[in-house]
Symmetry: C2
Subunit: 299 residues, 2 copies
Amino acid sequence: MSLLVVGSTAFDTIETPSGTAKDCLGGSATYFALAARMFTAVRLVSVVGQDFPAAHRAMLEQKGIDCQGLEQKPGKTFRWHGRYSADMNARETIDVQLNTFGEFAPKVPPALRDSRFVFLANGSPRTQMAVVQQMAKPEFVVADTMDLWIDRERPALLELLQRVNGLIVNDAEVRMLTGESNLIRAGKAVLALGPSLAIVKKGEHGCFLFSPYFHYALPAYPTERVTDPTGAGDSFAGGFMGHLAGCDSVSLWNMKRAVAYGTVTASITVEGFGVDRLAAADRGTVERRYQELLQFVQS
Amino acid sequence: MSLLVVGSTAFDTIETPSGTAKDCLGGSATYFALAARMFTAVRLVSVVGQDFPAAHRAMLEQKGIDCQGLEQKPGKTFRWHGRYSADMNARETIDVQLNTFGEFAPKVPPALRDSRFVFLANGSPRTQMAVVQQMAKPEFVVADTMDLWIDRERPALLELLQRVNGLIVNDAEVRMLTGESNLIRAGKAVLALGPSLAIVKKGEHGCFLFSPYFHYALPAYPTERVTDPTGAGDSFAGGFMGHLAGCDSVSLWNMKRAVAYGTVTASITVEGFGVDRLAAADRGTVERRYQELLQFVQS
């Protein structure tokens, strides 16, 4: 079924203990779409500047991603420069140039408003809400958020949470949002804010899924070498939402499989810089890792 | 089948964000034995001083723990005083009085030397080795260790690792032992040091099991309120070894179940101060949590 993602497209300069990569194609919507396209047709809504090479758009389209919502505006593309700690569990932002993304007011093209599955990548909750309001009849809307919005835009975020079906956040974010340090309590507390689904990502420690009817824990894929963690969260969301949209079902059984597929697409992303590994992967790669993951966690 | 544990018996004073408990019965062998006795007959080898109340020994014996190896010596019982951080993920030692445990040279009573399953709780690797050498024909020997021995007694520890079947350590310890920061690589690196089983405990993030033939990951039981993490690791080892000894099998299937039982016994321990919850629990409590855990992780 139709899956829409709204988020950033960026050029990232990334420093990790494995090396440095300059001006990689990145951005939340890019990682999400490149992961999700292995499961279903994806529609990308984002913004870039005049410096965005036609070759990048062509690559995304060649991967089957619908780019009619990828606006090109006067000015430059969003740029981010970050540096990871030795154990890659922390990162600092060296430089951010929002450029065209600074005034991103996403317009969902009319032909895409019928999308039934929607992912609101990290962005201001007001912008995320504006997207929800443009959709005709979305069936399953999931949002990401970050510390900045939890801190500065809490009322707008709480309002958004009343309008979405799910929230995907990391451990630090869910603690900040709910004030609960215990992650089980924090995950349940999200459900009290509106969504019927809360996913808490814990990086190398896997993730938790909370719903009113069941809870689920899945360890991470046993990756032996992390090259660059950038985009892991959005790649997770892409695999997760891609699988759900692809089978057009949010049953318990499919939710669990979706979490495993998200875990797999994230594991592919972190093995290379930027989107390289993810863009090169195909459904065969995904299925092999999915089977390996199931063996690793099978009780 | 016969399960022997050699380790400490102590009085602990514990400060956590939940409160303070003075002079609780504790020690690695105590936690281990109280967890393992729910699965099989346990034999305890440890040392206490003249201040050890007869009521404590009676309680252990009443739980079915064979205490003929619990030596009572002139002097005082080992005392430890610790304080946990707000999130309970770190602790500092306020005071240690080794007392009778300082010269602990475990003597396994002749009647217990036929034990087929042996757990060497945290202690000097020379002491652990001395225990191995006293056993008649141990079938499955598992050791714990800590940063102190990895740092100061590495040669003796490496020698011990050639003589044991398994090692149970936490994430920080396995990184220190192997020099690998990635836990999957670290776990595999332990296997190269001798044991055919390495378990890496990650506290609230669950654990990994490594063997030459399979790897396994299990999230922690979804505990909502941690009162006191003291003894969680030894309670894990007790549930793990207790199950294996109880069914007298180290098959893949039983190993996975044993990890789940260890996870369950650890989760019971952390819900109260000291050994209170663990001593009060019975096999029914364990089985209910085991089913809950399976539901939580079932893919």
